[in-house]
Symmetry: C2
Subunit: 443 residues, 2 copies
């Protein structure tokens, strides 16, 4: 009998190994996809795209086994050759190819010049041929940064005693009420797609005290804006035994601090490719909703039309205000009006028109909604009744409260929005591998 | 202006801090939910459920501020008191309570004796009141182990150069063909829920070489068995530049080895609570599909009814065979019949009735399906045609191949099935927080 004993030790080296000092002047084996070919006649520069960056290989007449005409962009090849120092090459090193093996070839020439520094292509066109446009190193770098954000979220919360949960996306009833849910038939029963893991993460606070989830959420909103997606990844946490809702803001600040350090440490090449300046997270101002409205009304000479609503333009102005006055990229806007928050939000005992809740704005865009939740069963029942709702279809959610829940709260962060703002993108679709919007269901 | 500067330093201690040697005979503050009360008259043992285990606190008449009659099971409380050594307490320590503050109280007595070692309740009943039944320390321990499995998956793959991706769950067409998909209306367009991230992860191999995703998948299968769920979490990876499909088996073996070590290191209390013996993963046998059928037919005197299909009973017998013959908990069954695999599976050049693919059986149950995929555009087109299919609706998937893809393959692991088998559970619903099956859409 034969056995599998573990990960295969590969002869082909990753980029970091090729670039390591001990590889200099050594014969190595590596592989990659041909990003571009610059043919100078007796010599040609064949740039390989590898997962962690570009690598210059050099084809030389009579020294490399193949003819240069046998190679084309998009080929996946294996290269055996000697590592040489070369200042003008990316990373200051190149491989002088002796033996090239073609592993696979494209059937047609690439429809985009993916080796351009910036793709000179519309967002629509890029999205239509996503599997190719993302091969551009700048395009794909965004999603490496995004990976770092999600890693940061999980690592930080794990270190702070949170348990990861996986909750269902198909359910009988939505968390936030009737509108804006996608409906489906579940074995002839009506069902909906989850708008958020809200009910489940609250129920799990009663079990694990602190929980988080990173998963898709679905919003059937008919918005077609630069900042809306109909399916996005939500970074959610919920924590019990809080003393007040500021603890949630503090936990989020800790996450941002941890994650910026992680990006600096593990994603420096991608930050450089995208020329990203990381925001400061050492101290994040917080301001009450109504005060924020007044501050921007005064400074930017703007009339307050509705004291209980925040217009997108006001959001941007609040971001601008705190940038100008405090050099702050982030600001917590607290105490949102009760009318604008779901029934489970805890009202402010000092003024029940407002809630113990917050949004986090990042460069003028809301990237987080959070707050303290009601934990007392009777208070929750009263609020449901006061809103003219019933708890029909929420019996099992209500059970958690009936049988005792600690004071708690939490938040949800839009992964794509956070990525978008960090990278300074104008459209959230740039920060989503395969966006879903009013018009786009493919690829 | 006021600022948030980071995570709040809590005065209330976590269990590990309470149990730390330096806390002995010190006054501490902690919190938790009352798991049980044993009232002896002048003294009462009040067991707190904290996120990492149980903690004994001791109420004493005239020494503790409250009357014992004011406390009840399910209360969330804060306790100030002195840590004392006490052999008979869990972890050998207890807190002599001086001051107890009730943070919240249940509205009704608990409907289950959650403090029992084993809940004496049917699976159905447990699922119906999930937010309460999971408060039992044994019930919740399973999901801590599950967290460890998913952490192990991500950490191991990250260390091996994989990039995490997030792909859409709503799409225009399913990856595995027409049947068994949930259908929904997406702004008046027909749409389906993803059965797997297959197409997307393959497309992303062309971008990042190695990718993984942990997310929900949806199967509208009308099975109602102990091992099927209609929504589950799939642990997927896909890797490029493979030399053969055994590299995928090797990567999975590496994941299992890494994860068992992680569970030993970080989840020892939960393994002990559940009395789990971790399986050996140092070497995993592999055997061809048709050979495996013959081995069990011979040993267990069973007739082979269909040489191109594997019945669940045969799967179990293969597991039994390798346990008996090689003391192996896992076995890779390779070279599945082409007819049983999707169109994108790479046929074996040596015998095209079979594929370069595998299942991993764990204690007689399939927990993984994987294999090498076709990477050549023309070969893929030919196979689609040979099956009488068209590539309609798959144009953007096909683009990835048209414009060049490395040799690659990957797999999907059922998170709940792996958890179930590791824990020795009889029903996969025991390994899912909120299972979805033919009859269950709530909670």
């Amino acid at each position: 009998m034969e056995f599998v004993t573990g990960v295969r030790k590969k002869e082909t080296l990753e980029l970091s190994k090729v670039l390591a000092p001990q590889s200099l002047d050594q014969e190595v084996l590596t592989d990659g996809s041909i990003y571009s070919i610059r043919n100078m006649g007796e010599i040609a520069f064949v740039i390989l795209r590898k997962r962690d960056g570009l690598l210059q290989t050099v084809w030389e007449e009579r020294k490399t086994n193949l003819s240069i005409s046998e190679l084309k962009e998009g080929d996946c090849i294996r290269v055996k050759g000697t590592v040489r120092a070369e200042e003008r090459a990316p990373h200051g090193k190149e491989i002088r190819a002796e033996e090239i093996t073609i592993l696979s070839s494209p059937a047609e020439p690439l429809p985009l010049a993916i080796d351009k520094w910036k793709l000179n292509t519309s967002l629509e066109a890029k999205l239509n041929i996503r599997s190719v446009s993302l091969r551009n190193v700048r395009e794909r770098a965004r999603f490496r940064i995004q990976e770092g954000i999600v890693r940061g979220f999980r690592e930080f919360l794990h270190e702070n005693g949170f348990t990861e949960i996986h909750t269902p996306k198909i359910g009988a009833k939505g968390a936030e009420g009737g509108a804006n849910v996608f409906k489906l038939s579940y074995f002839h029963k009506p069902a909906v797609l989850a708008q958020s893991p809200q009910f489940y993460k609250q129920m799990m606070v009663g079990v694990f005290d602190r929980v988080f989830e990173t998963g898709p959420v679905f919003r059937a909103e008919k918005h077609n804006t630069r900042r809306h997606l109909n399916e996005y990844t939500s970074l959610d946490f919920e924590m019990g035994y809080i003393e007040d809702f500021m603890e949630i803001c503090q936990m989020e600040t800790g996450f941002l601090q941890y994650t910026m350090e992680l990006l600096k440490k593990d994603y420096a090449p991608e930050l450089e490719i995208l020329n990203v300046t990381l925001p400061k997270t050492d101290k994040i101002p917080f301001v009450k909703f109504s005060e924020a409205k007044e501050l921007v009304a005064e400074k930017y000479n703007r009339k307050i039309r509705n004291p209980f609503d925040l217009e997108p333009e006001e959001e941007e102005l609040i971001g601008r205000y705190f940038k100008e006055e405090y050099d702050a990229d982030f600001v917590f806007v607290t105490h949102y009006p009760s009318k604008k928050r779901p029934f489970y939000a805890m009202d402010d005992p000092a003024d029940s028109r407002y809630t113990l809740s917050f949004d986090l704005l990042f460069r003028g865009l809301e990237i987080t909604t959070g707050g303290q939740r009601i934990h007392d069963y009777h208070m929750l029942e009263d609020k449901i009744a006061a809103r003219g709702m019933t708890d029909e279809g929420m019996e099992q959610y209500m059970d958690a409260f009936k049988y005792g829940m600690p004071p708690h709260g939490g938040l949800g962060i839009g992964m794509e929005r956070l990525t978008m703002q960090l990278l300074g993108e104008e459209n959230v679709r740039e920060a989503c591998l395969f966006p879903r919007d009013l018009n786009r269901l493919e690829p």
